[in-house]
Amino acid sequence: MKHLLSCDGLSRDTATAVLDTAEALKQTLLGREVRKLPTLRGRTVITMFYENSTRTRVSFEIAGKWMSADVINVSSSGSSVSKGESLRDTALTLAAAGADCVIVRHPASGAAHRLASWLSGTHTSVVNAGDGMHEHPTQALLDAATLRERLGGLDGRRIAIVGDVLHSRVARSNVHLLTTLGAEVVLVAPPTLLPAGVNSWPVTVSHELDAELSAVDAVMMLRVQAERMHGGFFPSAREYSIAYGLSEARLRLLPDHAVVLHPGPMLRGMEIASTVADSPRAAITDQVRNGVHVRMAVLYHLLAGEEEVA
Protein backbone atom coordinates (compact mmCIF):
# COMPACT_ATOMS: atom_id res chain seq x y z
CA MET A 1 0.00 0.00 0.00
CA LYS A 2 1.49 3.35 -1.06
CA HIS A 3 -1.34 5.74 -0.17
CA LEU A 4 -4.61 5.54 1.77
CA LEU A 5 -6.99 7.83 -0.08
CA SER A 6 -10.42 6.23 0.09
CA CYS A 7 -12.34 3.18 1.19
CA ASP A 8 -13.85 3.01 -2.28
CA GLY A 9 -11.62 0.46 -4.00
CA LEU A 10 -9.97 -0.76 -0.80
CA SER A 11 -9.92 -4.55 -1.04
CA ARG A 12 -11.33 -6.78 1.63
CA ASP A 13 -7.89 -8.34 2.14
CA THR A 14 -6.12 -5.01 2.60
CA ALA A 15 -8.79 -3.68 4.96
CA THR A 16 -8.72 -6.88 6.99
CA ALA A 17 -4.92 -6.79 7.17
CA VAL A 18 -4.99 -3.22 8.54
CA LEU A 19 -7.68 -4.15 11.09
CA ASP A 20 -5.74 -7.25 12.17
CA THR A 21 -2.58 -5.18 12.58
CA ALA A 22 -4.51 -2.62 14.65
CA GLU A 23 -5.83 -5.38 16.90
CA ALA A 24 -2.34 -6.84 17.37
CA LEU A 25 -0.93 -3.38 18.14
CA LYS A 26 -3.65 -2.72 20.68
CA GLN A 27 -2.93 -6.01 22.38
CA THR A 28 0.83 -5.48 22.25
CA LEU A 29 0.55 -2.08 23.94
CA LEU A 30 -1.92 -3.27 26.58
CA GLY A 31 -0.66 -2.72 30.11
CA ARG A 32 2.83 -1.74 29.01
CA GLU A 33 4.91 0.80 30.82
CA VAL A 34 6.55 2.08 27.64
CA ARG A 35 3.93 2.71 24.98
CA LYS A 36 6.44 3.31 22.25
CA LEU A 37 7.56 1.00 19.48
CA PRO A 38 10.78 1.63 17.53
CA THR A 39 9.26 0.56 14.20
CA LEU A 40 9.20 3.92 12.37
CA ARG A 41 12.33 5.46 13.88
CA GLY A 42 13.77 8.03 11.52
CA ARG A 43 10.62 8.36 9.40
CA THR A 44 8.96 11.74 9.16
CA VAL A 45 5.19 12.16 9.17
CA ILE A 46 3.63 15.55 8.48
CA THR A 47 0.02 16.32 9.21
CA MET A 48 -1.42 19.06 7.05
CA PHE A 49 -4.79 20.24 8.31
CA TYR A 50 -6.71 22.81 6.30
CA GLU A 51 -9.81 22.28 8.45
CA ASN A 52 -10.33 22.25 12.19
CA SER A 53 -9.93 18.95 13.98
CA THR A 54 -9.25 17.73 17.48
CA ARG A 55 -9.45 13.97 17.51
CA THR A 56 -8.16 13.12 14.06
CA ARG A 57 -5.07 15.31 14.26
CA VAL A 58 -4.24 14.28 17.82
CA SER A 59 -4.91 10.64 17.01
CA PHE A 60 -2.52 10.68 14.03
CA GLU A 61 0.08 12.52 16.08
CA ILE A 62 -0.09 10.01 18.93
CA ALA A 63 -0.07 7.10 16.46
CA GLY A 64 3.06 8.42 14.77
CA LYS A 65 4.80 9.11 18.06
CA TRP A 66 3.99 5.70 19.52
CA MET A 67 5.64 4.20 16.44
CA SER A 68 8.69 6.50 17.01
CA ALA A 69 8.17 8.53 13.83
CA ASP A 70 8.92 12.25 13.93
CA VAL A 71 5.57 13.99 13.62
CA ILE A 72 5.26 17.57 12.49
CA ASN A 73 1.95 19.41 12.39
CA VAL A 74 1.20 22.04 9.80
CA SER A 75 -2.04 23.96 9.87
CA SER A 76 -3.31 26.42 7.29
CA SER A 77 -3.14 29.35 9.69
CA GLY A 78 0.42 29.96 10.84
CA SER A 79 1.93 28.45 7.66
CA SER A 80 2.63 29.84 4.20
CA VAL A 81 -0.87 28.74 3.24
CA SER A 82 -2.11 31.96 4.82
CA LYS A 83 0.22 33.84 2.43
CA GLY A 84 -1.55 32.25 -0.51
CA GLU A 85 0.65 29.24 -1.27
CA SER A 86 -1.20 26.59 -3.24
CA LEU A 87 -1.88 23.08 -1.94
CA ARG A 88 0.42 21.70 -4.62
CA ASP A 89 3.37 23.91 -3.71
CA THR A 90 2.90 23.28 -0.01
CA ALA A 91 2.84 19.53 -0.61
CA LEU A 92 5.90 19.55 -2.87
CA THR A 93 7.72 21.65 -0.28
CA LEU A 94 6.90 19.20 2.49
CA ALA A 95 7.94 16.24 0.33
CA ALA A 96 11.21 17.97 -0.61
CA ALA A 97 11.84 18.72 3.06
CA GLY A 98 11.84 14.97 3.66
CA ALA A 99 8.29 13.93 4.57
CA ASP A 100 7.82 10.16 4.26
CA CYS A 101 4.10 10.57 4.76
CA VAL A 102 1.74 13.51 4.41
CA ILE A 103 -1.57 13.27 6.21
CA VAL A 104 -3.98 15.76 4.73
CA ARG A 105 -7.34 17.17 5.70
CA HIS A 106 -8.89 19.59 3.27
CA PRO A 107 -12.33 21.13 2.72
CA ALA A 108 -12.27 20.27 -1.00
CA SER A 109 -13.47 16.82 -2.05
CA GLY A 110 -10.72 15.03 -3.97
CA ALA A 111 -7.86 17.06 -2.43
CA ALA A 112 -6.04 13.95 -1.18
CA HIS A 113 -6.20 12.28 -4.59
CA ARG A 114 -4.82 15.40 -6.27
CA LEU A 115 -2.04 15.53 -3.71
CA ALA A 116 -1.14 11.91 -4.35
CA SER A 117 -0.96 12.52 -8.09
CA TRP A 118 1.32 15.53 -7.59
CA LEU A 119 3.57 13.46 -5.35
CA SER A 120 3.77 10.46 -7.68
CA GLY A 121 7.37 9.75 -8.49
CA THR A 122 8.42 10.77 -4.98
CA HIS A 123 8.61 8.32 -2.11
CA THR A 124 6.07 10.27 -0.06
CA SER A 125 2.85 8.50 0.98
CA VAL A 126 -0.43 10.33 1.33
CA VAL A 127 -3.17 9.60 3.85
CA ASN A 128 -6.58 11.19 3.43
CA ALA A 129 -7.71 12.49 6.82
CA GLY A 130 -10.96 13.82 5.39
CA ASP A 131 -11.55 15.62 2.10
CA GLY A 132 -14.67 17.75 1.89
CA MET A 133 -17.79 15.64 1.52
CA HIS A 134 -15.89 12.75 -0.09
CA GLU A 135 -14.09 10.29 2.21
CA HIS A 136 -12.46 9.84 5.62
CA PRO A 137 -11.01 6.32 5.37
CA THR A 138 -9.26 6.06 8.75
CA GLN A 139 -12.52 7.00 10.49
CA ALA A 140 -14.31 4.14 8.71
CA LEU A 141 -11.46 1.78 9.62
CA LEU A 142 -11.68 2.70 13.29
CA ASP A 143 -15.46 2.31 13.18
CA ALA A 144 -15.00 -1.14 11.64
CA ALA A 145 -12.39 -2.01 14.28
CA THR A 146 -14.80 -0.98 17.05
CA LEU A 147 -17.68 -2.92 15.52
CA ARG A 148 -15.51 -6.02 15.05
CA GLU A 149 -14.48 -5.78 18.68
CA ARG A 150 -18.02 -5.28 20.01
CA LEU A 151 -19.90 -7.60 17.63
CA GLY A 152 -17.22 -10.20 16.94
CA GLY A 153 -17.30 -9.59 13.19
CA LEU A 154 -19.04 -7.71 10.43
CA ASP A 155 -20.22 -10.44 8.08
CA GLY A 156 -24.00 -10.32 7.78
CA ARG A 157 -24.35 -7.54 10.38
CA ARG A 158 -26.81 -4.73 9.74
CA ILE A 159 -25.60 -1.21 10.41
CA ALA A 160 -27.76 1.93 10.30
CA ILE A 161 -26.06 5.20 9.41
CA VAL A 162 -28.33 8.00 10.55
CA GLY A 163 -28.54 11.71 9.84
CA ASP A 164 -26.66 14.10 7.59
CA VAL A 165 -25.46 11.61 5.00
CA LEU A 166 -25.33 14.30 2.31
CA HIS A 167 -22.41 16.21 3.85
CA SER A 168 -20.75 13.23 5.49
CA ARG A 169 -17.43 11.83 4.31
CA VAL A 170 -17.65 9.46 7.29
CA ALA A 171 -20.85 7.98 5.85
CA ARG A 172 -19.34 7.56 2.37
CA SER A 173 -16.23 5.83 3.67
CA ASN A 174 -18.28 3.61 5.95
CA VAL A 175 -20.70 2.58 3.21
CA HIS A 176 -17.77 1.36 1.10
CA LEU A 177 -15.80 -0.28 3.89
CA LEU A 178 -18.65 -1.92 5.81
CA THR A 179 -20.17 -3.42 2.68
CA THR A 180 -16.73 -4.61 1.52
CA LEU A 181 -16.40 -6.35 4.88
CA GLY A 182 -19.74 -8.11 4.39
CA ALA A 183 -22.12 -5.92 6.41
CA GLU A 184 -25.48 -4.59 5.25
CA VAL A 185 -25.87 -0.83 5.48
CA VAL A 186 -29.11 1.10 5.81
CA LEU A 187 -29.01 4.88 5.50
CA VAL A 188 -31.64 6.69 7.55
CA ALA A 189 -32.11 10.37 6.77
CA PRO A 190 -34.62 12.96 5.61
CA PRO A 191 -34.73 13.14 1.79
CA THR A 192 -33.05 16.55 1.89
CA LEU A 193 -29.96 15.11 3.58
CA LEU A 194 -29.38 12.24 1.15
CA PRO A 195 -27.02 12.74 -1.79
CA ALA A 196 -28.16 12.52 -5.39
CA GLY A 197 -27.24 9.12 -6.78
CA VAL A 198 -27.67 7.33 -3.48
CA ASN A 199 -29.74 4.75 -5.36
CA SER A 200 -26.59 3.43 -6.98
CA TRP A 201 -24.90 2.83 -3.61
CA PRO A 202 -24.91 -0.72 -2.22
CA VAL A 203 -27.30 0.27 0.58
CA THR A 204 -30.97 0.46 1.47
CA VAL A 205 -32.46 3.85 2.26
CA SER A 206 -35.09 4.70 4.83
CA HIS A 207 -36.66 7.88 6.18
CA GLU A 208 -38.14 6.27 9.31
CA LEU A 209 -35.67 5.80 12.14
CA ASP A 210 -38.10 4.00 14.48
CA ALA A 211 -38.86 1.38 11.84
CA GLU A 212 -35.20 0.42 11.45
CA LEU A 213 -33.90 0.28 15.01
CA SER A 214 -35.21 -3.12 16.07
CA ALA A 215 -33.36 -4.92 13.26
CA VAL A 216 -29.87 -3.41 13.44
CA ASP A 217 -26.67 -4.54 15.16
CA ALA A 218 -25.28 -1.04 15.32
CA VAL A 219 -26.39 2.50 14.75
CA MET A 220 -23.97 5.20 13.67
CA MET A 221 -25.18 8.73 14.38
CA LEU A 222 -23.80 11.50 12.16
CA ARG A 223 -23.24 15.08 13.18
CA VAL A 224 -25.46 17.66 11.51
CA GLN A 225 -22.84 19.66 9.63
CA ALA A 226 -24.13 23.20 9.92
CA GLU A 227 -20.86 24.58 8.52
CA ARG A 228 -21.53 22.89 5.19
CA MET A 229 -25.23 23.81 5.07
CA HIS A 230 -26.27 26.85 3.15
CA GLY A 231 -30.04 26.73 3.05
CA GLY A 232 -32.90 25.00 4.80
CA PHE A 233 -32.40 21.25 4.93
CA PHE A 234 -34.92 20.78 7.73
CA PRO A 235 -37.45 23.11 9.41
CA SER A 236 -35.75 23.40 12.82
CA ALA A 237 -33.16 21.77 15.01
CA ARG A 238 -35.91 20.63 17.35
CA GLU A 239 -37.87 18.99 14.57
CA TYR A 240 -34.74 17.25 13.27
CA SER A 241 -33.96 16.00 16.74
CA ILE A 242 -37.48 14.62 17.21
CA ALA A 243 -37.43 12.77 13.88
CA TYR A 244 -33.79 11.62 13.68
CA GLY A 245 -32.17 12.09 17.08
CA LEU A 246 -31.19 9.04 19.11
CA SER A 247 -33.23 9.55 22.29
CA GLU A 248 -33.43 7.31 25.34
CA ALA A 249 -36.79 6.01 24.13
CA ARG A 250 -35.22 5.04 20.78
CA LEU A 251 -32.28 3.38 22.53
CA ARG A 252 -34.80 0.97 24.06
CA LEU A 253 -35.96 -0.05 20.57
CA LEU A 254 -32.50 -1.40 19.76
CA PRO A 255 -31.68 -5.08 20.30
CA ASP A 256 -29.72 -5.67 23.55
CA HIS A 257 -26.42 -6.34 21.80
CA ALA A 258 -26.59 -3.33 19.49
CA VAL A 259 -23.86 -0.70 19.63
CA VAL A 260 -24.14 3.08 19.29
CA LEU A 261 -21.37 4.88 17.39
CA HIS A 262 -20.69 8.55 16.73
CA PRO A 263 -17.64 9.82 14.86
CA GLY A 264 -17.58 13.05 16.90
CA PRO A 265 -17.70 15.88 17.49
CA MET A 266 -21.14 15.25 19.00
CA LEU A 267 -23.94 17.75 19.24
CA ARG A 268 -25.57 16.49 22.42
CA GLY A 269 -29.31 17.02 22.38
CA MET A 270 -29.31 17.36 18.57
CA GLU A 271 -28.54 14.03 16.88
CA ILE A 272 -27.87 12.15 20.12
CA ALA A 273 -29.25 12.55 23.64
CA SER A 274 -26.65 13.20 26.29
CA THR A 275 -27.66 10.15 28.36
CA VAL A 276 -27.41 7.92 25.26
CA ALA A 277 -23.91 9.20 24.46
CA ASP A 278 -22.81 8.36 28.01
CA SER A 279 -24.58 4.98 28.21
CA PRO A 280 -22.61 1.70 28.18
CA ARG A 281 -24.21 0.92 24.79
CA ALA A 282 -22.27 3.78 23.26
CA ALA A 283 -18.80 2.87 22.01
CA ILE A 284 -17.78 6.45 21.39
CA THR A 285 -14.67 6.49 23.59
CA ASP A 286 -13.73 3.03 22.26
CA GLN A 287 -13.82 4.55 18.78
CA VAL A 288 -11.32 7.21 19.82
CA ARG A 289 -9.08 4.65 21.54
CA ASN A 290 -9.19 2.31 18.53
CA GLY A 291 -8.50 5.29 16.28
CA VAL A 292 -4.94 5.49 17.57
CA HIS A 293 -4.29 1.79 16.94
CA VAL A 294 -5.90 1.89 13.49
CA ARG A 295 -3.77 4.89 12.49
CA MET A 296 -0.65 3.16 13.83
CA ALA A 297 -1.60 0.19 11.65
CA VAL A 298 -2.08 2.43 8.62
CA LEU A 299 1.34 4.05 9.15
CA TYR A 300 2.85 0.59 9.59
CA HIS A 301 1.38 -0.64 6.32
CA LEU A 302 2.43 2.52 4.45
CA LEU A 303 5.88 3.09 5.90
CA ALA A 304 7.37 0.00 7.54
CA GLY A 305 7.82 -2.38 4.62
CA GLU A 306 9.74 -2.18 1.37
CA GLU A 307 9.38 1.12 -0.45
CA GLU A 308 6.73 1.19 -3.15
CA VAL A 309 7.11 3.49 -6.08
CA ALA A 310 3.87 4.69 -7.63
Partner: protein
Protein backbone atom coordinates in the same frame (compact mmCIF):
# COMPACT_ATOMS: atom_id res chain seq x y z
CA UNK B 1 27.88 -31.80 2.56
CA UNK B 2 27.61 -35.25 4.19
CA UNK B 3 24.18 -36.78 4.36
CA UNK B 4 23.20 -37.25 7.96
CA UNK B 5 20.10 -39.31 7.49
CA UNK B 6 17.17 -39.75 5.12
CA UNK B 7 17.17 -39.49 1.36
CA UNK B 8 16.93 -36.28 -0.63
CA UNK B 9 13.59 -36.07 -2.41
CA UNK B 10 13.27 -34.55 -5.91
CA UNK B 11 12.75 -31.05 -4.46
CA UNK B 12 16.10 -31.29 -2.68
CA UNK B 13 14.70 -31.82 0.82
CA UNK B 14 16.62 -33.79 3.37
CA UNK B 15 15.32 -34.77 6.79
CA UNK B 16 17.64 -33.71 9.60
CA UNK B 17 15.39 -34.64 12.51
CA UNK B 18 12.47 -37.07 12.46
CA UNK B 19 9.38 -36.66 14.63
CA UNK B 20 10.99 -38.93 17.22
CA UNK B 21 14.22 -36.92 17.11
CA UNK B 22 12.30 -33.67 17.67
CA UNK B 23 10.59 -35.14 20.75
CA UNK B 24 13.89 -36.47 22.17
CA UNK B 25 15.62 -33.15 21.44
CA UNK B 26 12.95 -31.12 23.23
CA UNK B 27 13.13 -33.53 26.18
CA UNK B 28 16.91 -33.13 26.38
CA UNK B 29 16.61 -29.35 26.23
CA UNK B 30 14.05 -29.50 29.06
CA UNK B 31 16.55 -31.39 31.24
CA UNK B 32 19.23 -28.82 30.43
CA UNK B 33 16.92 -25.91 31.35
CA UNK B 34 16.08 -27.59 34.67
CA UNK B 35 19.76 -28.10 35.42
CA UNK B 36 21.12 -24.75 34.30
CA UNK B 37 18.39 -22.65 35.95
CA UNK B 38 18.44 -24.82 39.13
CA UNK B 39 14.69 -24.94 38.70
CA UNK B 40 12.77 -25.50 41.91
CA UNK B 41 15.72 -24.60 44.17
CA UNK B 42 14.72 -22.13 46.93
CA UNK B 43 17.04 -19.35 45.78
CA UNK B 44 16.50 -19.83 42.03
CA UNK B 45 15.04 -17.03 39.93
CA UNK B 46 11.51 -17.78 38.72
CA UNK B 47 11.70 -19.04 35.13
CA UNK B 48 9.36 -18.01 32.30
CA UNK B 49 9.55 -19.35 28.75
CA UNK B 50 8.82 -16.83 26.01
CA UNK B 51 8.31 -18.16 22.49
CA UNK B 52 9.06 -16.05 19.42
CA UNK B 53 6.39 -16.50 16.72
CA UNK B 54 5.69 -18.38 14.69
CA UNK B 55 7.27 -21.69 15.68
CA UNK B 56 8.93 -20.57 18.89
CA UNK B 57 5.48 -20.24 20.47
CA UNK B 58 4.44 -23.92 20.32
CA UNK B 59 8.03 -24.95 21.08
CA UNK B 60 7.93 -22.94 24.34
CA UNK B 61 4.68 -24.71 25.29
CA UNK B 62 6.21 -28.14 24.60
CA UNK B 63 9.35 -27.29 26.51
CA UNK B 64 7.23 -26.18 29.48
CA UNK B 65 5.24 -29.42 29.35
CA UNK B 66 8.42 -31.55 29.37
CA UNK B 67 9.88 -29.44 32.20
CA UNK B 68 6.69 -30.06 34.21
CA UNK B 69 6.95 -33.82 33.49
CA UNK B 70 10.55 -34.03 34.66
CA UNK B 71 10.61 -31.55 37.56
CA UNK B 72 7.00 -31.08 38.61
CA UNK B 73 7.45 -27.31 38.24
CA UNK B 74 4.95 -25.48 36.03
CA UNK B 75 6.81 -22.67 34.32
CA UNK B 76 4.65 -19.94 32.78
CA UNK B 77 4.89 -19.44 29.02
CA UNK B 78 4.20 -16.49 26.78
CA UNK B 79 4.52 -15.26 23.22
CA UNK B 80 6.51 -12.21 22.15
CA UNK B 81 6.12 -10.89 18.62
CA UNK B 82 9.26 -9.02 17.64
CA UNK B 83 8.22 -7.79 14.17
CA UNK B 84 7.92 -4.16 15.28
CA UNK B 85 11.50 -4.29 16.59
CA UNK B 86 13.18 -5.81 13.53
CA UNK B 87 15.95 -3.89 11.80
CA UNK B 88 15.20 -5.42 8.40
CA UNK B 89 11.56 -4.31 7.96
CA UNK B 90 12.50 -2.02 5.08
CA UNK B 91 14.06 -4.93 3.20
CA UNK B 92 10.90 -7.00 2.97
CA UNK B 93 7.27 -6.51 2.04
CA UNK B 94 5.04 -5.89 5.03
CA UNK B 95 4.86 -8.67 7.57
CA UNK B 96 1.64 -9.38 9.42
CA UNK B 97 1.90 -9.01 13.20
CA UNK B 98 1.39 -11.93 15.56
CA UNK B 99 -0.29 -11.50 18.92
CA UNK B 100 1.93 -10.95 21.94
CA UNK B 101 0.85 -12.44 25.27
CA UNK B 102 3.11 -12.39 28.27
CA UNK B 103 2.41 -14.58 31.31
CA UNK B 104 0.29 -13.10 34.11
CA UNK B 105 3.20 -12.23 36.39
CA UNK B 106 5.09 -10.49 33.57
CA UNK B 107 8.85 -10.71 33.14
CA UNK B 108 9.99 -8.28 35.84
CA UNK B 109 12.90 -9.86 37.75
CA UNK B 110 12.27 -13.26 36.11
CA UNK B 111 14.73 -15.54 34.38
CA UNK B 112 13.41 -15.34 30.84
CA UNK B 113 14.24 -18.14 28.44
CA UNK B 114 13.57 -17.00 24.87
CA UNK B 115 12.56 -19.92 22.65
CA UNK B 116 12.86 -19.99 18.87
CA UNK B 117 13.04 -22.68 16.23
CA UNK B 118 16.15 -21.66 14.25
CA UNK B 119 19.09 -19.45 15.23
CA UNK B 120 20.65 -17.92 12.11
CA UNK B 121 21.82 -14.28 11.83
CA UNK B 122 20.83 -13.48 15.42
CA UNK B 123 18.77 -10.48 14.32
CA UNK B 124 15.49 -11.93 15.55
CA UNK B 125 17.02 -12.48 18.97
CA UNK B 126 18.37 -8.94 19.04
CA UNK B 127 14.87 -7.66 18.21
CA UNK B 128 13.48 -9.88 20.99
CA UNK B 129 15.93 -8.43 23.52
CA UNK B 130 14.80 -4.91 22.57
CA UNK B 131 11.14 -5.92 22.78
CA UNK B 132 11.65 -7.48 26.21
CA UNK B 133 13.16 -4.26 27.48
CA UNK B 134 9.88 -2.43 26.77
CA UNK B 135 7.95 -4.97 28.85
CA UNK B 136 10.12 -4.89 31.95
CA UNK B 137 13.53 -5.79 33.33
CA UNK B 138 14.17 -9.53 33.59
CA UNK B 139 16.83 -10.68 36.09
CA UNK B 140 18.50 -12.49 33.20
CA UNK B 141 17.72 -13.72 29.70
CA UNK B 142 18.72 -17.03 28.14
CA UNK B 143 18.13 -18.43 24.67
CA UNK B 144 16.91 -21.87 23.62
CA UNK B 145 16.77 -22.91 19.95
CA UNK B 146 15.87 -26.18 18.31
CA UNK B 147 18.41 -25.70 15.50
CA UNK B 148 21.53 -23.55 15.31
CA UNK B 149 22.48 -23.23 11.65
CA UNK B 150 25.40 -20.81 12.06
CA UNK B 151 26.12 -17.63 10.02
CA UNK B 152 25.74 -15.24 12.95
CA UNK B 153 25.81 -11.53 12.08
CA UNK B 154 25.70 -10.37 15.71
CA UNK B 155 27.49 -11.42 18.91
CA UNK B 156 24.68 -13.69 20.07
CA UNK B 157 24.82 -17.35 21.14
CA UNK B 158 22.26 -19.79 22.47
CA UNK B 159 22.31 -21.32 25.97
CA UNK B 160 20.41 -24.41 24.85
CA UNK B 161 20.78 -25.87 21.35
CA UNK B 162 18.75 -28.84 20.15
CA UNK B 163 20.95 -29.54 17.15
CA UNK B 164 23.87 -27.77 15.51
CA UNK B 165 23.53 -27.94 11.73
CA UNK B 166 26.33 -26.57 9.55
CA UNK B 167 24.62 -25.04 6.50
CA UNK B 168 25.37 -23.00 3.44
CA UNK B 169 23.62 -19.61 3.21
CA UNK B 170 21.92 -20.82 0.05
CA UNK B 171 20.26 -23.63 1.96
CA UNK B 172 17.14 -23.33 4.07
CA UNK B 173 16.14 -25.00 7.31
CA UNK B 174 12.49 -25.82 7.76
CA UNK B 175 11.14 -26.71 11.16
CA UNK B 176 7.76 -28.40 10.96
CA UNK B 177 5.61 -28.73 14.05
CA UNK B 178 2.47 -30.77 14.56
CA UNK B 179 0.55 -27.73 15.92
CA UNK B 180 1.07 -25.71 12.73
CA UNK B 181 2.21 -28.09 10.02
CA UNK B 182 0.54 -31.37 10.91
CA UNK B 183 3.80 -33.23 11.57
CA UNK B 184 7.11 -32.87 13.41
CA UNK B 185 10.36 -32.73 11.45
CA UNK B 186 13.39 -30.60 10.70
CA UNK B 187 14.38 -30.52 7.04
CA UNK B 188 17.18 -29.03 4.99
CA UNK B 189 15.93 -27.43 1.78
CA UNK B 190 17.83 -26.50 -1.36
Amino acid sequence: MPRTRGAADPGGRRELLSAGDVARTVARMAHQVIEKTTLGAPDAAPVVLIGIPTRGAPLAKRLAARIADFSGVQVPTGVLDVTLYRDDLRRHPNRPLEPTSLPEGGIEDKLVVLVDDVLYSGRTVRAALDALRDHGRPRSVQLAVLVDRGHRELPIRADYVGKNVPTARSEGIEVLLEELDGRDAVELVG
